[in-house]
């Protein structure tokens, strides 16, 4: 029953995410296709217009900036521009980015294994064994994410210039990340009885896992195009379009 519920929620989350992404692409596509132009009268924004304009800019020759590969590795994956400005914030963001992306990938792998088993394809290991294999990397990257999130929270709460400049748009993102991370640790702790169980009975593990999964699906997938999370899509696109930036 739980697996079915999560499946439905996952599909719904992806559908909501895709719809929001298309709305954003269409919104961006209301822009013009080049320098000093005006949109065609009566033409609505289209995702295709955006993608074509973006690609044209990515592949345009330029006297400055970096190549696509360099931008992908140094500016997007390793976030060189943040490092240049603040090594402290770079560590914070890299922990959140690295932790989040890796846990997302590991969760996807786990989900894939469960799906394969459900449709009757035999694997040399059971989903339970596979979950055990993933437990150590899950812990490592979970703690990496947690450290990053805690630094971000402390910074936003206790550094006055950051706190005073924070708006709901900022708080929602960090708040959700915090809840997702903590609920993940709790769900796993209750299941295994290690550290994060807080004395709760193992019978509480399934609802805790369900809460974590649903919360993560809703707020870390479906919510992306409707919130500050959109930056995880827009920043790489902007960096590629501007050849790594000035």
């Amino acid at each position: 029953m739980t697996f079915v519920q999560v499946m439905i929620m996952a599909i719904l989350a992806v559908v909501i995410f895709l719809y929001g992404l298309i709305v954003n692409l269409q919104k961006w596509g209301t822009g013009v296709t080049g320098y000093n132009l005006e949109p065609q009268a009566g033409k609505k924004g289209s995702a295709i217009t955006f993608l074509k304009t973006w690609w044209k800019q990515v592949t345009a020759e330029s006297h400055h900036g970096h190549g696509i590969l360099e931008t992908l590795i140094l500016d997007i994956a390793l976030q060189r521009r943040i490092l240049k400005r603040s090594p402290f914030r770079w560590i914070m963001h890299l922990f959140i980015f690295g932790g989040w992306m890796t846990l997302f990938a590991l969760s996807g792998l786990m989900f894939a294994v469960e799906m394969i088993e459900k449709i009757g394809i035999e694997l040399p290991f059971t989903p339970e064994v596979f979950r055990d294999w993933l437990s150590i990397p899950n812990y490592i990257f979970g703690y990496i994410l947690l450290i990053g999130v805690l630094i971000a929270l402390v910074r936003r709460l206790f550094v006055s210039e950051v706190r005073e400049a924070s708006i709901k748009y900022d708080w929602v993102l960090i708040g959700i990340l915090f809840i997702v991370t903590i609920s993940g640790f709790l769900a796993d702790g209750i299941r295994t009885g290690i550290i994060w169980s807080f004395g709760l009975a193992p019978s509480a593990a399934p609802p805790a896992a369900l809460f974590h999964s649903i919360f993560a699906l809703v707020f870390c997938i479906a919510f992306i195009p409707y919130s500050k999370y959109i930056h995880v899509i827009a920043i790489p696109l902007a960096l590629l379009a501007n050849k790594g930036g000035e």
Binding site: N36, Y169, I230, L237, G245, E246
Partner: protein
């Protein structure tokens, strides 16, 4: 009931620029470095990230998820007016783009937003509208007679009728800051460089309409680019020299875009030209300056087109100069406050920024604050005067002229 229409449109804003709005994570780096925000005493509306947030909200109200479901939400005219004032409270120096962690091309974004607002009938700010009309009518920004373009030329300066090298003076050096024109022309003569000038065929470079969002106003910028390029070709130009950073930026970046093609000649700033001559050992200095000199990078020469080293190379090769650097230099430089129409539109703000830059220079104990742009010289001088500071503001070309034993008056 008629369907509501969005309060804003996307004229001049590219699809990529609209996406860039959503890439801003409000990290605040731009706020830390913005010279107008600092000089205003921290007016929130001038913070680059605040402008991005507001236009993003305008976009979402007009074209976002809720607008798609329930129709566009009206944006009060007063909000758009306030936004316009803030977008014009920017020198378009571009330091926000340099420090932006998302790599947003902010200079292009501010200029596109200005153009969009002008087309909407909301901009430009204050008297900036009249400047473009003046340029359209007079072909210079000072309402002066084109026939007087070469009125400053002293008898000792020799100008060829045609030459491979053409010196594009610029309105400010040619009409207002004559010492720069004297210095440039005499230095070229002294070095045996044959050069021509456009005279009354030299029109305003078009920087002003482009920077202030009036690129669409009666094709003024396009006409300026087309006319100047044709006039330069008629003079036989293979290399065009600029001593004005604003004109240089316009020629190097804006003219090819406005005309949709590469220029048929090379454009080069006078400091690059002189640096090459020094490397070839073709300059024989005659005087020692014996002063401590610091250098302010003009935004249009430095951050916008990447010329950082040539002016420093020239200064450090002038005999007697002890060269010192300020804190914020090269790509991280603090703007002088003159650009983007701020000097013309918001004079007090411009001077406040100029004061901040002069304070940077004073911290180095320099005798001379040099630059390579007449606009920078003007605003840094105003900042210096406001502070009643004891520091000389001089262009690099003036120092070169002095070291070659030439008069700049």
């Amino acid at each position: 009931m008629a369907k509501r229409t969005p309060s804003i449109d996307t004229k001049n804003l590219t699809a990529v620029q609209l996406m860039e709005l959503d890439s801003c994570v409000r990290c605040g780096e731009c706020v830390k470095w913005c010279p107008t925000y600092a000089a205003s005493g921290g007016k929130p509306g001038l913070a680059p990230r605040d402008k991005i947030l507001r236009w993003k909200q305008f976009m979402n109200k007009s074209y976002g998820f809720k607008a798609k479901l329930f129709g566009p939400q009206e944006i009060p005219q007063s909000e758009l007016e306030e936004f316009k004032d803030d977008v014009y409270g920017c020198t378009t120096c571009g330091v926000c783009g340099t420090v932006c962690e998302a790599g947003i091309n902010t200079v292009e974004l501010w200029e596109a937003l200005r153009t969009n607002l002008v087309k909407k009938g909301i901009g430009p700010y204050g008297k900036l509208a009249s400047t473009t009309k003046i340029i359209k009518e007079y072909h210079n920004a000072y309402m002066l007679d084109q026939k007087d373009r070469l009125a400053w030329v002293p008898p000792d300066v020799k100008i060829a009728d045609k030459s491979d090298i053409v010196y594009f003076t610029g309105c400010t050096a040619g009409y207002k800051q004559l010492s720069l024109a004297f210095a440039t022309s005499r230095v070229l003569n002294k070095l045996g460089i044959k050069f021509a000038m456009l005279g009354e065929e030299e029109w305003c470079c078009g920087s002003n309409p482009v920077r202030t969002g009036q690129i669409g106003y009666q094709q003024v910028a396009h006409e300026a680019a087309r006319h100047n390029v044709e006039a330069l070709q008629k003079k036989g130009a293979k290399k065009v020299l600029f001593a004005c950073a604003g004109c240089f930026r316009a020629a190097k970046v804006d003219w090819p875009r406005l005309l949709g093609k590469e220029l048929p000649f090379e454009v080069i700033h006078i400091t690059q030209f002189l640096a090459d001559l020094i490397k070839e050992d073709k300059i024989k200095w005659e005087k020692s300056i014996n002063k401590t000199v610091t250098y302010h990078d003009p935004c249009h020469l430095g951050r916008h087109v990447g010329v950082f080293n040539a002016p420093r190379y020239v200064l450090t090769h002038i005999p007697g100069i002890k060269f010192v650097e300020m804190d914020r230099i090269k790509e991280m430089q603090r703007c002088c406050g003159a650009g983007g129409g701020v000097k013309a539109g918001m004079g007090d703000l411009a001077v406040a920024i100029g004061e901040a830059r002069v304070k940077d220079a004073l911290e180095t104990n320099a005798d001379i604050l040099s630059s390579a742009c007449p606009f920078c010289k003007r605003n840094l001088s105003d900042g210096r005067d406001a502070l009643k500071a004891d520091i000389v503001v001089e262009d690099v070309i003036e120092l070169v002229a002095e070291a070659l034993g030439l008069s700049t008056t």
